[in-house]
Point group: C2
């Protein structure tokens, strides 16, 4: 049957990709797995990791990352991009050192790597500014302002080329944001909605800390010597293959996936969570024009709340487990999607509580659940990575800055909670790898 | 006559305010004049400026700044706000040191001042993010990332209170940007417009360097010992009074001011330069609804180009001279307005060259001169202050991020030109004051 073939195809594709990815990793005989940001943080603090920034690692990581992204697992590309860009920067500086002695200076080397990080984040999403700030926050403790300027310069041109290429490729008509939102600008939100934004921020703080905890527990469990882990150590392929089969089966669209929008690719997922509709008001009626891929969230028999909640719960553990697999995998994007889903859930609840919107000056302004999703995405990524510049990345990704103040408040609250409970995901990985 | 009374009133008001401002400055017996950013830069580098951060200086600066802004001279409040916020931070930390010994730590003192700077810029315009980045760029060489977090925290809440107060004051319906623009978002600009943006960037680099040069030459001229400066040193009131009379006379709206939009307050000026109309297409026809204060730029007999050019040329030397007066005066706002006028001029020229807009995919997209004004404002302030975060301030001020990439490119080009030609305005003032 068509359905069965599909399932086998998806699982096989997933396994193949995961295996290619893992093989590249294994073949290069270096620990290229994971995001790469923790390793760069240690390098920038003066620890020498041999052969971490070589051309061989570059090739292995590029192929491995492509396969990992193609496997359909909930893994991101931000961390690996930082690693790839840093390798480019390091290799380029070694090449340039034939012509100029400046490049042999160890200070210069650190500067170049810092800029490389900024470019990696910046060109991954086309967010130069957020890229620079995010890379400063996650890699540095003290920072030279001259590198801010350089990072800004390099990241702007990389983001520029990234977006111009998509224009030449006819994906976009002009240079715009990657996940452009279209919320109303004259009255983006009412002051009475602020408590809801604060709740998103605080909840995301707890959820982010729990994500870091869960991720670390999985790694520690795999380390503990017992029959199962000894078996897994012997047959290294079993762990990624099992995880891939389980996740691919659960998200299989015609199966359980229909209750968790399984058919959506990560990019479609974000675009639909940020859309300008209110899904809870659509049950029963034919979907309006322009709803596009958001239809995946509307199940004829199951409430939107259940779908969103199921999506959030399932993706939560899936992301926490998938990012521990020995393949190049960033955690930023999966966490971003989780945050968006959580924010959207709160937004839809608000839209149900205030079905006619909020009255202000005689005009009824309806709730925009998409705005809540953007705030949730920024807050949860901020909590997991212990950074505040995720808010900047969100502005640049959505191309809208109208929610700036509530978003910054939510990100700060999320950080306050998460920083009190757990280390950042990157610090957690550094601690575990020690 | 009504006209004569008006003129006398305006000039007298201007002189009175300038004199009050100058007296406060003189009475406090400390050099509170100028922006305050250069002094803070030296303090943060370890130089002890006695009595610069006292309650006395606070009171003198607040009254002086209020009077200076009321005088109608082209001076800004950003620099003095940084000084005022730093005094608050310093005084607060002295007060807190009664309760906790942490505040007596000299490192802590530096941290607190850095955060004070960020709050100063952030609450001046309601731009927390740009405030933090701008204050980092202008005051620091090396920067502790923990202060970034703290600055972000403090500046967000100060900006939040600033904007919430304006909601309570019924100035705004909800929390929005200060100079909110309303450009079309689906197709903000075409790739063919990029050369024009680059030209704005490069020109602003030259203009910014020339502004710094002019400002320094005025200061140096006032220092050179000759009959005139000896006279001015003896009668200290003469210089500010003369400058006030000349500038107030030239910008007097029914007089020469009608050819340079003299009736507009700085805030109205920016709002009208950023508006969503094309002024060159309005000659002869009745002005459309919603044009508002922008009518000041439309003279029945004189072309918009002449008005914009005159405004730019006159305000250029006025701002350069006014910021040398011994009163609390920031240069950021005047330069921002100059840049906006220059950008608008280029935008209106583009709109005349391509009267039907730019053809793309069968649709004609018209040129948005307001977008050029935003880019010009960011580029010129960037060139004068040698910072790239003016772009961030612009996004936050306008509430629109659609022009992010061309704006960042323009700011980078402006910085490249200006940094090659002159020191930043703040470094120039430090050098001159040595």
């Amino acid at each position: 049957t068509r359905l069965g073939e599909d399932w086998i195809f998806l699982v096989l594709l997933g396994i193949t990709m995961a295996l290619v990815s893992w093989t590249m990793d294994y073949a290069s005989a270096k620990s290229l797995q994971g995001s790469g940001i923790p390793e760069l943080k240690t390098i920038l603090r003066g620890v020498v990791l041999k052969e971490y920034l070589t051309l061989k690692a570059f090739i292995a990581k590029v192929i491995g990352l492509t396969a990992a992204l193609g496997s359909g697992m909930p893994v991101g590309k931000e961390g690996p991009f930082v690693h790839i860009a840093s390798i480019c920067a390091a290799v380029l500086s070694r090449f340039m050192s034939f012509f100029s002695g400046v490049y042999q200076n160890p200070y210069c080397y650190t500067d170049i790597l810092t800029v490389g990080c900024a470019v990696g984040v910046g060109c991954c999403f086309g967010t130069p500014l957020g890229g620079v700030l995010f890379s400063i926050e996650v890699t540095s403790t003290y920072f030279a302002v001259r590198n801010y300027w350089r990072g800004y310069f390099a990241a702007t041109f990389s983001a520029f080329i990234f977006r111009v290429l998509s224009v030449f490729n006819k994906d976009a008509v002009t240079i715009t944001a990657l996940f452009r939102t279209n919320f109303r600008m004259d009255f983006p939100f009412d002051l009475q909605e602020l408590p809801a934004f604060a709740i998103i921020g605080i909840s995301c703080g707890f959820l982010g800390a729990f994500f870091v905890y869960l991720n670390r527990q999985v790694v520690l469990f795999m380390r503990r010597p017992n029959t199962m882990t000894r078996f897994l150590m012997k047959y290294r392929l079993v762990f990624p293959a099992t995880v891939t089969v389980v996740i691919a089966t659960l998200t299989f669209p015609p199966g359980f996936g229909q209750f968790m929008a399984g058919e959506l690719m990560p990019r479609e997922c974000i675009n639909s969570l940020f859309d300008n509709f209110t899904w809870t008001k659509m049950s029963g009626s034919p979907p309006p024009v322009g709803l596009g891929r958001s239809t995946a969230w509307l199940h004829p028999d199951v409430s939107v709340f259940i779908i969103l909640l199921l999506f959030f719960l399932m993706k939560f553990w899936m992301s926490a487990v998938a990012t521990t697999m020995p393949i190049p995998s960033g955690a930023f994007m999966p966490v971003f999607i989780l945050g968006a889903a959580f924010g959207r859930l709160v937004g839809e609840i608000m839209a149900t509580l205030f079905p006619h919107g909020i009255l202000f000056d005689g005009i009824l302004y309806r709730i925009i659940p998409g705005g809540y999703a953007v705030i949730g995405a920024a807050a949860l990524t901020g909590a997991v990575t212990h950074t505040v510049s995720t808010a900047v990345i969100c502005f640049e990704l959505t191309g809208q800055i109208s929610h700036i103040l509530p978003m910054m408040v939510a990100v700060i609250l999320a950080n306050m909670v998460a920083q009190g409970l757990q280390p950042s995901l990157y610090d957690s990985i550094i601690q575990v790898k020690k």
